[in-house]
């Protein structure tokens, strides 16, 4: 059973067809890079997977469960980092993560310990009791990733997790994704920074105009199309599609 299994997924916003029969499979323990230009349908796909947006066609299953019909059960196993999100500025990461833990149904006695553990993993310990508004952008992003990880989900859906971060912050996030994968977690992350994908992913899928135009291992895709990097590959394939 695939961790994520999307078949013929479609989404029509008023005048815009955001997804046109998207098919995608992510196996357990993989880091999957979901790439494409702005407006390709990456965010819509991730939002459908966590039940924020309703599809107009097709189906999406996570760990064998339908994301719409069994949304609550699915979300117990999924952590989600949106592309843009507001954190409560006057709150501390510790209190905020506690709130997120309660909303995720974590047992009360375990939440504080889990917060410490997740903070250690993200190198956030020394900032746990500072106001979120006073944190750097990189540390705010870590708080965002921490809220996605707090309930110990098997699957992480990260929407543009490295956008806006400096090279050190980006590297930290990419390293974290790799280490999560080694622990058996499945990571699906969207990005339009293809060098991040090359560094991190077991598999890559390129989405363009709402459908997947290319999928495979980064190295084999490059050799198959005779390109030196994924940027060149993307331009070649996307240009051909257009």
């Amino acid at each position: 059973m695939s961790a994520i299994d999307i078949k013929g997924l479609a989404k029509q916003y008023k005048d815009v067809q955001a997804l046109r029969g998207l098919d995608l499979k992510v196996e357990t323990g993989q880091v999957y890079g979901f790439c494409g230009p702005n407006g390709a349908g990456k965010t819509t796909t991730l939002k459908i997977l966590v039940g924020l947006v309703y599809p107009t066609g097709g189906s999406a299953r996570i760990l064998g469960r339908d994301v719409i019909e069994e949304g609550v059960e699915v979300r117990k196993h999924v952590g989600y980092l949106p592309e843009s999100y507001g954190l409560p500025r006057s709150d501390t990461p510790r209190r905020f993560l506690h709130y997120m833990g309660v909303l995720s149904g974590m047992p009360k006695e375990g939440i504080w310990r889990t917060i410490e553990a997740v903070a250690r993993e993200l190198d956030l310990t020394q900032n746990l009791d500072r106001k979120i508004g006073a944190l750097s952008k990189g540390n705010k992003q870590k708080v965002g990733i921490a809220q996605a990880m707090i309930h110990g989900p098997e699957i992480l859906l990260l929407d543009e997790p490295t956008t806006g971060l400096d090279p050190i912050g980006r590297n930290e996030v990419l390293t974290l994704m790799k280490s999560l994968s080694k622990k058996g977690k499945t990571v699906l992350f969207s990005t339009h920074i293809l060098s991040d994908v090359e560094k991190t992913c077991d598999n890559v899928g390129i989405i363009h105009n709402g459908s997947l135009i290319l999928e495979g291992e980064p190295t084999s895709l490059k050799s198959k199309y005779g390109t030196k990097d994924l940027d060149e590959l993307f331009l070649k394939v996307a240009g051909h599609e257009q």
Partner: protein
């Protein structure tokens, strides 16, 4: 990990966060302000003011309730305090792009809405209770004919009126992401609901119209002697007024792409 979400935990967490927020602080300040004001006003009011109230009722205990609950508290609560606690419950999360974090948790949208509604109601209860409880001995010393059940019965109905206001508020809050728009819209809607009741003594038509608003039932004992059976029925009636707004909110928000 159990991952079993209990509504009680959600509401409690949300209540604590609201209580210690800026809006919670404002509500607490309201509570203190009301206590001070009420004690001051009742001590200083000229007898002529009470005589004026006899236009509406000759019973001194009802005179008190008319002034305190109907003329004072219910208007402040429905126009300002309850809206203040709920107006950006949803629009605030929408504007600050917090849906992606909140609703990606293993909770249903209905649970999320009810969490917001009940936590705002609880915070209101926390700030309202001291006014009612501490106010009683003060008013008892001024109006000796005041009855315990009449006083607290009316207080419960005013609390339910605040719940109704919040039910309207949560619906309004789902319609916009601008908090100011939400607050003004709530003020307008509540003013429309309140108007027939506030002017019901001026004509029979307005009196009939006021019966279509929860304010009529919530403040009924301000001008009528208390009786338990009527109280129970009217409490249910005020809650029933809230139900369509809650259902409409759940229906509308439940099918929305966020």
């Amino acid at each position: 990990m159990s991952n079993e979400i209990r509504m009680r935990d959600l509401v409690w967490q949300s209540t604590i966060r609201l209580l210690f927020s800026f809006r919670g602080l404002l509500a607490l300040l309201f509570s203190i302000f009301m206590l001070v004001m009420v004690a001051y006003i009742y001590d200083k009011l000229p007898p002529a003011f009470f005589e004026l109230i006899t236009i509406f009722t000759s019973d001194p205990s009802l005179q008190f309730q008319w002034l305190f609950f109907d003329n004072f508290m219910s208007k402040l609560i429905t126009l300002f305090v309850a809206p203040m606690l709920i107006f950006d419950a949803i629009s605030g999360d929408r504007a600050s792009e917090r849906f992606g974090i909140m609703l990606a948790r293993p909770i249903t949208r209905t649970q999320y809405l009810l969490m917001k509604l009940f936590s705002a109601s609880l915070v209101f209860g926390i700030v309202f209770l001291p006014i009612v409880a501490l106010g009683y001995p003060v008013f008892m010393s001024i109006v000796h004919t005041l009855t315990l059940e009449g006083y607290f019965g009316t207080a419960v109905l005013v609390y339910l009126l605040a719940f109704f206001t919040m039910s309207v508020g949560i619906l309004v809050s789902t319609l916009t992401k601008k908090a100011v728009v939400s607050f003004i819209a709530m003020f307008g809607v509540m003013a429309v609901f309140m108007m027939p009741n506030a002017t019901k003594y001026t004509s029979d038509a307005l009196n009939s119209l006021s019966m279509a608003t929860p304010h009529y039932y919530a403040t009924y004992f301000s001008s009528h002697a208390f009786d338990a059976a009527t109280f129970a029925v009217y409490a249910v009636v005020v809650v029933l007024f809230s139900i369509p707004f809650i259902v409409a909110t759940i229906w509308r928000f439940g099918k929305e792409d966020l």
